[in-house]
């Protein structure tokens, strides 16, 4: 039995480029920074690709972002995802969590799937609350902090190792289910040249709010219930003392600093 997996992938400003900034409206200035697939979403995508390699099936990327996110999603397609769905609508600009969840829920209602996978959190928002909210709205079984995902498509069940404070809990849920993954799912692959070529002809369907049956006035910045009221640079750390010399001199400098700050 083939598996149908939807992987939530968020295009985020590239942390490595370190060019992120907020516009005057307190929203991310998306033109200022190159976008990449959120790092934690690549772990769940990798898990999805391995699962469909084992069970057969199809991996669909689902993003909510401005129209140019199609280019960011190509990397996921180049890694091996079969197709993409991009929820994009000018009315979604400035969405808070509530609107983001509403749009993704509406998109998922139009898709068929056995598993929805989401990353632990995103590098820009660092919230990690969207997965639980979507599962709640769709009344899907929900498992977070997954270290491994083992579906049994014939039995319609999935077994997940969840990281616990003392090791792992092994949880079992019927499918469809929503699972939030972690880095323990395994190192994401790099797209191969063949994969990059193939990604060019893969389909990314763009869905507007109207396509999803949502009213433009019900989501987006206009109805956001959170607002950014201020931004400032964090207090600068003091100057860095650099010590070169013998190992003993280095060790002495460390001990002196620890003593002066009463850390030992």
């Amino acid at each position: 039995m083939p598996l149908r997996i939807v992987v939530l992938t968020k295009p985020v400003p590239d942390p490595a480029a370190a060019a992120e900034k907020l516009g005057s409206d307190g929203r991310l200035d998306r033109a200022a920074s190159p976008a990449v697939i959120n790092g934690n979403d690549e772990y769940t995508l990798e898990a999805a690709l391995k699962l469909v390699a084992e069970h057969e099936g199809e991996v669909t990327l689902l993003s909510m972002a401005p129209p140019n996110a199609v280019e960011t999603m190509r990397k996921g397609l180049a890694m091996g995802a079969h197709k993409g769905v991009l929820v994009s609508d000018p009315a979604l600009a400035g969405s808070d969590y509530t609107s983001t969840v509403a749009a993704l829920v509406a998109a998922l209602e139009g898709l068929e799937y056995d598993l929805v996978l989401a990353g632990f959190d995103t590098s820009d928002g660092v919230g990690g609350v969207v997965g639980a909210a979507i599962a709640t709205k769709l009344k899907l079984p929900y498992i977070s902090s997954a270290a491994s995902i083992e579906p049994d498509p014939a039995a319609g069940k999935v077994r997940v190792k969840r990281i616990s404070p003392t090791g792992f809990d092994v949880l079992e849920a019927p499918m469809p289910a929503l699972i939030v993954g972690t880095q323990l799912l395994g190192e994401p692959r790099y797209p191969s040249l063949k994969g990059i070529m193939a990604a060019r002809s893969k389909e990314v369907a763009t869905k507007s709010l109207a396509d999803l049956g949502l009213d433009g006035g019900s989501v987006g910045g206009g109805v956001a219930r959170t607002k950014v009221t201020g931004k400032e640079k964090p207090p600068a750390r003091g100057a860095t003392q650099v010590v070169r010399g013998s190992a003993e001199e280095g060790a002495k400098a460390i001990v002196e600093l620890l003593e002066s700050r009463r850390l030992i």
């Binding site: 400003p13 942390p15 370190a18 992120e20 307190g26 790092g39 772990y43 969590y97 509530t98 969840v101 590098s123 820009d124 660092v126 919230g127 990690g128 609350v129 969207v130 639980a132 909210a133 599962a135 709640t136 009344k139 929900y142 498992i143 977070s144 270290a147 190792k161 990281i163 404070p165 090791g167 809990d169 092994v170 949880l171 079992e172 972690t182 880095q183 956001a224 219930r225 959170t226 607002k227 950014v228 009221t229 201020g230 640079k233 964090p234 860095t240 070169r244 190992a247 003993e248 280095g250 060790a251 002495k252 400098a253 460390i254 001990v255 600093l257 620890l258 700050r261 850390l263 030992i264």
Partner: protein, 325 residues
């Protein structure tokens, strides 16, 4: 409109109150004082008594819900549903949870159940007619302040280690509530529990962290890191590269895809300080790096960088620490 600031608490495996909940409850009490309102907490567990009594040392009122299904099933959605029933019959001014894995799940579930907005990963919260929430964004490059819109109350997740837990002068009242009605969200049963040899001290709670990166070179190198940590009474941390190489468990990983820590001392051996690691430790009190490369990014934000071979400097440091009177 002063109302009550609520905390949804997490419990440890032994039934005691989670450390992050002691922090979040302290914050709720501080905010309630500023808002001239009250702070209250909810504990949902099969046997909530111990944690509820403990939570009452921090806030004035605790609702303990004995829910047998909170044990043996994935906890957060069960707890969120029971908490939602309480919160619906109150008029909260705000709801706070931790920003760890369980706290996030509770917050996301509550937000969906109660149709409430969320502000996440707070590094500080003040009260200004409602919570005014500081967050560290873009890898620590910027601190933003956010609020809920006028007249809205919402849910705030609070990062671990940004509040120092402090008990109240007098203990609050604990009331018990029976779980009311069916659980509407699917239960996810725990089929098995696998114990792992855990680190002696969880890194989130350590006052001192000695971390190793790619430069440590292997498991043998981590013995030196461990020895220095022992000498300083601290825990061992690591970068993603060291974890991916299998030198040390994922539980010790610090950074964007690992844990976010704020120890008083962060001593890094062979850690370059790339942005993905930096976001997990940049608010540490004192940061010291031992690194061969003087141009490594860590030199931009450490208090002290010793340029040299980490094994030679590390061993000399160990000797110096051990020979102190």
């Amino acid at each position: 409109m002063p109302g009550t600031i609520w905390v949804v608490a997490e419990t440890n495996a032994d039934g005691s109150l989670g450390k992050s909940s002691t922090e979040v409850a302290t914050l709720a009490r501080t905010l309630a004082e500023a808002a001239k309102g009250d702070a209250a907490g909810i504990v949902v567990a099969a046997d909530p008594k111990a944690a509820a009594d403990e939570l009452a040392r921090y806030v004035g009122r605790v609702v303990a819900i004995a829910e047998p299904k909170a044990d043996g099933n994935a906890w957060a959605q069960v707890a969120a549903q029971r908490a939602a029933a309480i919160l619906t019959s109150e008029s909260p001014a705000a709801v706070l949870t931790g920003a760890g894995p369980d706290g996030r799940d509770v917050a996301g579930t509550l937000a969906a159940l109660l149709d409430r907005p969320v502000l996440v990963n707070a590094t500080a919260v003040a009260w200004d007619g409602g919570p005014s929430v500081e967050m560290s964004v873009f890898g620590g490059k910027l601190v933003t302040t956010s609020t809920f819109s006028d007249g809205e109350w919402g849910i705030v997740t609070v990062r671990p280690n940004v509040v120092t837990a402090e008990k109240a002068g007098s203990a609050g009242k604990v009331e018990t509530a029976k779980p009311a009605g069916e659980l509407e969200l699917p239960l996810v049963p725990i089929a098995d529990r696998l114990e792992e040899a855990a680190a002696a001290l969880p890194i989130e709670e350590a006052r001192v962290i000695v971390a190793g990166g790619r430069g440590v070179g292997g498991e043998d190198g981590f013995k030196l890191v461990q020895d220095i940590a022992d000498a300083l009474g601290g825990a061992v941390g690591a970068t993603r590269a060291a974890v991916d190489s299998g030198w040390i468990p994922y539980a010790q990983q610090i950074g964007q895809t690992g844990k976010i820590v704020k120890p008083q001392l962060y001593l890094a051996l062979g850690v370059s300080g790339a942005i993905q690691h930096k976001v997990g430790m940049q608010t540490a009190g004192t940061i010291i790096g031992i690194n061969r490369d003087p141009d490594a990014p860590i030199a931009e934000f450490a208090d002290l960088v010793v340029v040299g071979d980490l094994f030679e400097v590390g061993k000399a440091l160990l000797e110096a620490l051990r020979s102190r009177p």
